[in-house]
């Protein structure tokens, strides 16, 4: 394999049927071996509300109790994953949907309940790159939800960005791996209101001044720092771009 592209999409694409359809067509057209990781979107929250599940929050973070785990498993690993897979099949891409439990692809460890018990939430432990290799070599495109398992029969809800990074690292054991995070902007902008101020490239050297100057701020900080970490560990590049720019060069690449 010449290279593997791992693409992550989040709620902004998933919640918009037309954007999703366009994205899936572009993703299907992406050349070479590839893997898709999808997040959740608002559907799980809406379903939990309709089922009148009590939302428990600690420090602004939601607790994944058993009822919530069932809902996210239904929505992420079921409805969204199968709709995405069926959409990719229709676009000519031989997709195959996976949770971490499927083929024991990804195991996670339940997060330490001390000091705060977040419930059925996990952190990635191990990605089976052998399984990824066999699927990719068979012409199959794996499509991951962020529902993983602990290997002992318990499903765990994980952060989809972290899943994408871990899978890109697993892919890097097979071939040079490029990771693409799709979101609702063109990339890191010097002026958040002006798309023409896109920063094309960030390295560990150029990152510090960007952070110090407040150009990289808020939610972008963990994104870039995770990207730098992934690159340090062996992912060839991480690009942050708009979901509509998948097939062109517009975006911020972290190397």
């Amino acid at each position: 394999m010449e290279k593997i592209t791992v693409v992550k999409i989040g709620g902004n694409v998933i919640d918009n049927p037309e954007a999703l359809k366009r994205f899936l067509e572009e993703f299907a057209a992406l050349q070479g071996a590839k893997i898709l990781v999808h997040g959740g979107g608002k559907l799980a929250t809406r379903l939990a509300e309709r089922l009148e599940l009590k939302v428990q929050m600690v420090d602004g973070r939601r607790i994944t109790d058993k009822g919530t785990l069932d809902v996210v498993t239904m929505v992420y690993a079921g409805l969204i994953n199968k709709q995405v897979v069926a959409g990719l099949q229709a676009a000519g891409c031989n997709a195959l949907g996976l949770s971490g439990a499927d083929g024991n692809a990804v195991t996670a460890r339940r997060r330490d309940p001390n000091p705060v018990d977040y419930g059925f939430v996990g952190d990635i432990e191990r990605v089976d790159s052998g399984l990824l290799r066999r699927l990719l070599e068979g012409g199959i495109t794996p499509v991951f939800s962020a529902i993983m398992h602990d290997g002992q029969g318990t499903l765990l809800n994980c952060n989809a960005d972290s899943v994408a990074s871990a899978i890109a690292l697993g892919a890097a054991e097979i071939a040079p791996a490029d990771l693409v995070f799709c979101f609702e902007k063109n990339g890191v902008l010097r002026d958040p209101e002006d798309d023409t101020t896109l920063i094309r490239e960030i390295t560990s050297e150029t990152y510090a001044p960007l952070k110090a100057d407040g150009i990289v701020s808020k939610g972008m900080i963990p994104k870039i720092e995770n990207a730098l970490k992934a690159v340090e560990k062996g992912v060839r590049s991480v690009t942050i771009k708009h979901s509509e720019n998948l097939l062109n060069e517009i975006g911020t690449t972290i190397k």
Copy 2:
């Protein structure tokens, strides 16, 4: 491969967590290449009720409208499939959950809307035995829900018994295939109240008098006739047995 065993479980096992756990441990212990097909159970109905979806019936049969399709996709291809896969992984069986869309494993055709439009309901069209072979040869146990796709991006709810038969026929292209239907009795009984009156074997020759005498009646008629058809088309044997008897010989075998 020496042989492939295809096992189908339905709601009576799925709805009972302890029966399901016992079954999954026995299934994990089953020797040789194997495939599991699971039906739905009452959870989808309960969820549809809690979401206050209107159940539309025609001639005693439920219409699968878009809302119902989403619910069965969530429950069958999501929650149940992933819980079964995680349970098998915990029992040491390398399971991988599939809908028909995954890897384009099984395509279905939407049922003719004339004279009655049952909605998003499909009949099996094609099983990709090449994919089954690659998974089985890789030591993976496919676990199918009955959610299939039409290849054009539409998911379709199918009858799980028919899915099991179609997959057994696909498996028969790879190796001798034995199909096992688990249900809540030991098999076909001469006296439905007496487990000791089990009929051990039915063939196309012995079936006619059993039907004429009313020993095979009601819901058992389509089961046996589908089994005879599967055997005629190339499945080596079909056995109807209690889910607790998976690893022993108690059951009715149709040859």
